[in-house]
């Protein structure tokens, strides 16, 4: 008899992930799992590698070691099911485009090459703008938006993808308190529909209230798990209580010596 229980694969599984900039590791040996349907917060001090983690997971940065699986598959096999809200400052907002143009970009993955967004895409985009309270701004030039409006435009673009896993890099930066509440409300509804939302977040005050899963990071993984077990005084102390000087010094040494992260990944020189 088959006694193996059918558990859904985790939304995200990260195994032994190391990421280096200019050879200096900024994330060391991260191992973590996030089940489906969680609203997960990635937290840690400045320079802890929060953005680096989600960029590496999405394959936007080269990995020095380790692998990433989403729904038990390599990321490239499930691109259509993941969505990304980059940091607002990562683009030049003086680009000739309207809010609706940007939100429509969320449909490009589904559309495929060569095809143009049609009426249904436009309607979907408007619906997503409505969800973030931006429907009145559909035809506004993006250069005229305030910081909070830019953030909500990016959020609408991610929603328009109708994905299953959402990576959001500081979606609350520059957003006022009322909008932040509304967005969290929206994200919570999404997780109720079995979507997984992974949010890089800054504010410790609201962490317990917002998230049901927590990843505490400071160049290495301090803790991860349900917020009730991860959000402890000791873990916070370990995350925010200063840098691990030795680890950072060793990282600097690796860069100076141009040393490989793993045996067998000796850098190919020119």
């Amino acid at each position: 008899m088959n006694t193996i229980q059918q558990t859904p694969p985790p939304a995200l599984e990260v195994h032994d992930l190391t990421v280096a900039f200019d050879r200096k590791p900024v994330l060391w040996n991260i191992d973590l799992t996030i089940p489906q349907g969680k609203l997960a917060g990635v937290m840690g001090p400045n320079g802890a590698g929060k953005s680096t983690l989600i960029k590496a997971v999405m394959g936007l940065l080269p990995l020095s070691s380790g692998f990433v699986k989403i729904f038990d598959q390599p990321i490239d096999a499930v691109r259509g099911r993941i969505s990304y809200v980059p940091q607002r400052e990562s683009v030049d907002w003086d680009f000739p485009a309207s809010v609706l143009d940007v939100v429509l970009m969320g449909r490009y993955g589904k559309l495929g090459l060569f095809k143009r967004p049609g009426k249904t895409d436009r309607e979907k985009a408007k619906e997503c703008l409505h969800q973030v309270g931006m429907e009145a701004f559909a035809n506004r030039q993006i250069s005229q938006l305030s910081g909070g409006q830019q953030q909500r435009t990016f959020l609408a673009r991610a929603l328009a993808q109708e994905a299953d896993v959402y990576f959001m890099d500081e979606p609350f930066a520059g957003v006022d308190a009322a909008t932040e509440k509304a967005i969290i409300q929206l994200l919570t509804t999404m997780t109720e529909a079995r979507k997984t939302v992974i949010v890089v977040h800054h504010d410790l005050q609201t962490a317990q209230q917002y998230f049901d899963w927590l990843i505490l990071l400071n160049t290495r993984l301090v803790a991860h798990g349900p917020v009730e077990t991860a959000f402890t005084q000791q873990n916070l102390q370990d995350t925010y209580g200063g840098k691990l000087t030795l680890l950072s010094d060793v990282g600097d040494l690796i860069r100076r010596e141009n040393f490989p992260n793993r045996e067998g990944t000796i850098p190919k020189m020119i």
């Binding site: 993941i82 980059p86 680009f95 490009y108 090459l113 060569f114 143009r116």
Partner: protein, 429 residues
């Protein structure tokens, strides 16, 4: 015959070749260049233009003819190679992109000049005209050239049309494009190939050195006129075509004039005009806007001064002399005279016997300014904890700026207060 009519009737096949060729080159370069511009890679065009020369020479050496297919093929290869070289230098060394472009550009160009000199000294009769790639030969285009240009222009247009949304997304947000699974690498390679193609045919009109101008300048000029990417690219295309046509015409009426440089001069003039006179983004429009703001501030300050005088004597219908107003707000009597006359023209003030009085409209506007001033002072003291003696100057600016929506919000937030921090009454209509 009138040269204008003779030119635009396009009876002469030579004129036809030159005009069509120049327009094809400039318009298609402008379309592709729009994406280089939006990608903030404007210097890349310059690198390719210089790197094309050794390819042209190589194509000639290998084929022994000036058949455009070989020349363009060779040019395409070394043009691409230069970009690979730039990327290699940037990713493998600590050299930044601008330096890498400078290095690669000069190495390729140097080799090109070297090869060209060798070919010219070789006594091969077929080589004459190869140096056209250096300076352009728009005025000597022939039918064969047109077929090659037309084919390349068609490739460029169709590809841009098909991959328009991908090119746009890549220019705006490359990481996002990668995250949602677009084949970013292939799209980039395609766009780069288009740029190389555009440069390869473009330099035959304007030459190596001026190529960057017809690639980038139309897009830079068009950007001043619009915030819509489609309109921008179409405008760039029109600007490019216009410069191509004008260049051809100028070299027709004055045969001593070279076409290529004139194309560049015309497109640069268009860019200059855009820079100064485009609505909203142009320099003149900005200066005018500043002037309007300055005038509004002066006008409203004088209305406010008159309102304060009215408050002093508790009667807003009282007439006041210019001297009295100057005592409240000293902006110099000449300037005051001008401001008063302007306010009179606009129907905010009336005058009799050198004394000035509000019209109903004038009083309403003055009252609003005073109200916002005092509300803002109160807001700064109550919500931002700024000392009451530090709030006046800020309020003096904000009073001219606030929109009715923000004004209403401010009133609501402060719950329609009666007095400002200095116990002056906040007037409501």
């Amino acid at each position: 015959m009138n040269p204008l009519i003779q030119f635009f009737s396009f009876q002469d096949p030579n004129i036809r070749f030159v005009v069509i060729g120049a327009i094809l080159l400039t318009a298609s370069s402008a379309i592709v260049g729009s994406f280089t511009f939006l990608n903030k890679k404007s210097l890349i065009g310059d690198a390719i233009a210089h790197a094309v020369l050794p390819g042209v020479c190589l194509g000639f050496l290998l084929s022994g003819t000036k058949n455009p297919v070989f020349l363009i093929g060779g040019a395409f290869i070394t043009g691409w190679l230069s970009l690979v070289a730039v990327e290699f230098v940037v990713s493998r060394t600590r050299i930044k992109e601008d330096t890498a472009i400078g290095l690669v550009l000069s190495v390729f160009f140097g080799i090109g000049i070297l090869m060209l000199t060798v070919i010219q000294k070789s006594g091969n009769a077929a080589q004459s005209g190869l140096d056209n790639f250096l300076f352009g030969k728009a005025a000597a285009l022939v039918g064969d050239d047109l077929i090659a240009f037309g084919a390349v222009a068609a490739i460029l247009l169709v590809t841009v049309f098909l991959l328009f949304k991908e090119f746009t997304l890549l220019a705006f947000d490359k990481d996002y494009a990668r995250a949602i699974g677009l084949p970013v690498r292939w799209i980039s390679v395609t766009l780069t190939s288009l740029i190389v193609l555009a440069v390869v045919i473009g330099i035959q009109a304007v030459g190596v050195v001026l190529m960057a101008a017809i690639l980038i300048t139309p897009a830079a000029a068009a950007r001043f006129w619009t915030d819509k990417i489609r309109v921008m690219i179409m405008l760039a295309c029109v600007f490019g075509a216009l410069s191509g046509l004008s260049g051809a015409y100028i070299s027709f009426v004055a045969p001593a004039m070279p076409t290529g440089p004139w194309i560049v001069i015309v497109i640069s003039t268009i860019a200059f005009i855009s820079f100064f006179f485009a609505p909203r983004r142009g320099v003149v429009s900005r200066v005018m806007r500043q002037r309007t703001i300055r005038r509004t501030i002066h006008d409203e300050n004088i209305l406010k001064a008159l309102y304060h005088l009215g408050e002093d004597c508790k009667d807003f219908t009282e007439r006041h002399t210019a001297e009295e107003i100057l005592r409240k707000r000293n902006i110099g009597s000449d300037h005051l005279e001008r401001v008063l006359m302007r306010l009179k023209r606009q129907g905010y003030l009336t005058t009799a016997n050198g004394r000035w009085q509000f019209t109903e409209e004038g009083k309403v506007r003055a009252q609003r300014v005073v109200k916002i001033h005092r509300l803002w002072e109160l807001y700064l003291t109550t919500h931002l904890n700024i000392a009451p003696d530090h709030v006046h100057d800020d309020a003096d600016t904000i009073e001219h700026l606030l929109t009715p929506e923000l004004e209403a919000e401010l009133e609501k937030l402060l719950d329609y207060p009666r007095e400002d921090p200095h116990r002056a009454e906040i007037p409501y209509p």
